[in-house]
């Protein structure tokens, strides 16, 4: 075991892991985070806390993560390189770890152009791959980027994201390999709607033997409605939503669409459970956290193992 991370332990046990996420509030009410976490806490092995998601200012992911930790939960701290340079990131990693956060996700982050602070200077001092390496160096070499030794190094379980649907497709596995080479421990993928394409990607991952080196959690998002599906298809970059998803939602009454969405996500998880290399699921129920237990149960992933 590299770390104290519960996720690492679940994965090491050979069982499928389940993570989900909670977005911190755009204000100081920490109870919101707690409420959301309470809804899902019994059905997941770790809870991602997003970091200024979609480049909108929110409560610090570390602060929210610490609150969860205090509840005895297992936060996965997300950190984007957009907003901090190497100094700030390393400092925050030290702090987060000191307060009990032992799992983190290294991301470059959505460009500020998307968010509510387009005038902010994007930092991007280093990219997500170099960030993985930085966290690994801190953990395994006990070195800061500047070369100095860390007296009490942070033992972070290191995660990263992967988008199997972004272009160029042929680079998607190669880039994963780079992340692996940089030292990533687990991967949470972008929401999967085009299951066949994901499977194709996974096959290449397996062919390269990458699944041996990194635990891949498939990203699952239940569709709330036909409108949401259409919106994601047309408006959200990097989303690959096949027509059959749209058609299936369109085929049921409007008030049955949410139900159908949940059904689809469950079916998807059941299908992917069989997919070689898939080590678990990362459920992103956007503003729909209350449905996470239903999904996890539906997919036969409940109860969560005690580790």
């Amino acid at each position: 075991m590299k770390t104290e991370s519960r996720l690492e332990k679940v994965l090491a046990s050979g069982q499928l892991a389940v993570t989900s996420e909670v977005g911190p509030p755009r204000g100081c009410n920490i109870d919101i985070v707690k409420e959301k976490a309470n809804m899902i806490k019994d059905h997941v092995d770790g809870i991602n806390i997003t970091d200024n998601q979609t480049a909108m200012v929110r409560m610090s992911s570390i602060a929210a993560g610490v609150a969860l930790k205090q509840m005895g939960l297992d936060p996965i701290i997300q950190m984007v390189s957009r907003d901090r340079n190497r100094l700030a990131m390393q400092a925050d990693i030290l702090g987060a770890y000191a307060l009990g956060c032992n799992t983190m996700l290294c991301l470059s982050g959505d460009h500020p152009q998307f968010g509510d602070h387009p005038m902010a200077k994007p930092v991007y001092d280093i990219d997500s791959i170099n960030m993985i390496k930085m966290v690994k160096d801190m953990r395994d070499e006990a070195k800061f980027q500047g070369g100095a030794d860390i007296t009490e190094p942070p033992k972070m379980f290191i995660g990263a994201a992967a988008n199997p649907f972004a272009d160029p497709f042929e680079l998607r596995v190669m880039r994963l390999a780079k992340k692996v080479a940089a030292g990533v421990d687990f991967i949470q993928t972008q929401c999967i709607f085009n299951t066949a394409k994901f499977e194709e990607w996974m096959k290449q991952v397996v062919d390269r033997g990458l699944d041996e080196k990194v635990a891949i959690l498939a990203g699952i998002t239940p569709m709330k409605s036909l409108g949401m599906a259409k919106y994601m298809k047309s408006k959200v970059p990097g989303m690959d939503i096949p027509d059959e998803v749209i058609d299936r939602l369109a085929g049921v009454d409007k008030d049955k669409q949410a139900e159908e969405g949940i059904k689809m996500a469950i079916e998807q998880m059941q299908r992917l459970k069989e997919c070689k290399g898939v080590k678990g699921f990362h459920i992103m129920a956007i503003e729909w956290e209350e449905k996470v237990p239903e999904l996890v149960e539906g997919a036969g992933l409940s109860p969560r193992p005690k580790v």
Binding site: D125, S128, Q145, D167, P237
Partner: protein, 230 residues
């Protein structure tokens, strides 16, 4: 080339509002080539200032002059006589030229353009950023396409997950630099390079180390200059 574009007129007018005699100075180098600060733009801005003064019912005298280059003190010396006649200067040079003029004359010098970036012309009237002057060129390993200047996130190991159909997540009008790099590497048969991890950028040469300066000892040696002059 350094590119620039004219500042909003009202901003310029705001700067010069307190003054009655203005010199508009152009530069015959980069800003001429990118049609932001050559003789023509000097003429247009001067006319606009005059039109504005007419509206304001105020008599402003505007002199026009364009230097060969505003970032060399010798050329800027040529302004001495004109600068002596005016209350303020509007420079249409890039930031370098503006500062050179400001450093040589004890009157207010206002920028008339926004200096944008180092770019290349894509076609008539279109300039695109190509270089950020990072001071440590990595084009040798990226197929001749700069991820620093052309990737929105300056990612060293791209592309990020936002690359769709060869375009950047920030806009469908912006090419994904990493898609370009990849295509180019494929074209050159250098795909293998891709998987080499590119280390985090050292930003010191890019200005992280404070204002940059180049000193060519062979040229800058005071001895040579003295000898030449002798």
């Amino acid at each position: 080339m350094i590119t620039a574009e004219q500042k909003p007129l009202q901003e310029i007018l705001g700067y010069i509002a307190p003054y009655e005699k203005i010199l508009v100075v152009g530069c015959n180098e980069c800003v001429t080539v990118c049609a932001a600060g050559g003789r023509k733009e000097v003429g247009l801005l001067s006319s606009a200032i005059r039109l504005n003064s007419a509206k304001a019912g105020k008599k402003i005298e505007v002199l026009e002059h364009t230097l060969e280059r505003q970032c060399d003190p010798e050329y800027v010396d040529q302004l001495a006589e004109l600068a002596g006649q005016v209350d303020a200067v509007v420079s249409l040079a890039c930031g370098c030229g503006i500062q050179t003029v400001a450093s040589q004359y004890p009157i207010p010098v206002f920028p008339g353009v926004n200096t944008k970036f180092m770019g290349a012309s894509e076609s008539q009237g279109i300039w695109a950023e190509r270089c950020m002057g990072c001071g440590d060129c990595m084009l040798g390993i990226t197929g001749g396409i700069c991820p620093i200047a052309r990737c929105s996130k300056s990612i060293m190991n791209g592309p990020c997950g936002g690359s769709v159909n060869g375009k950047c997540e920030i806009s469908p009008d912006v090419d994904c630099a990493w898609q370009l790099i990849w295509d180019r590497l494929v074209e050159l048969g250098l795909q293998d390079r891709y998987e080499e991890l590119v280390a985090a950028k050292d930003w010191r040469p890019a200005g992280g180390g404070g204002p940059r300066k180049i000193i060519r000892e062979d040229l800058a040696s005071s001895k040579i200059i003295t000898e030449d002059n002798a």
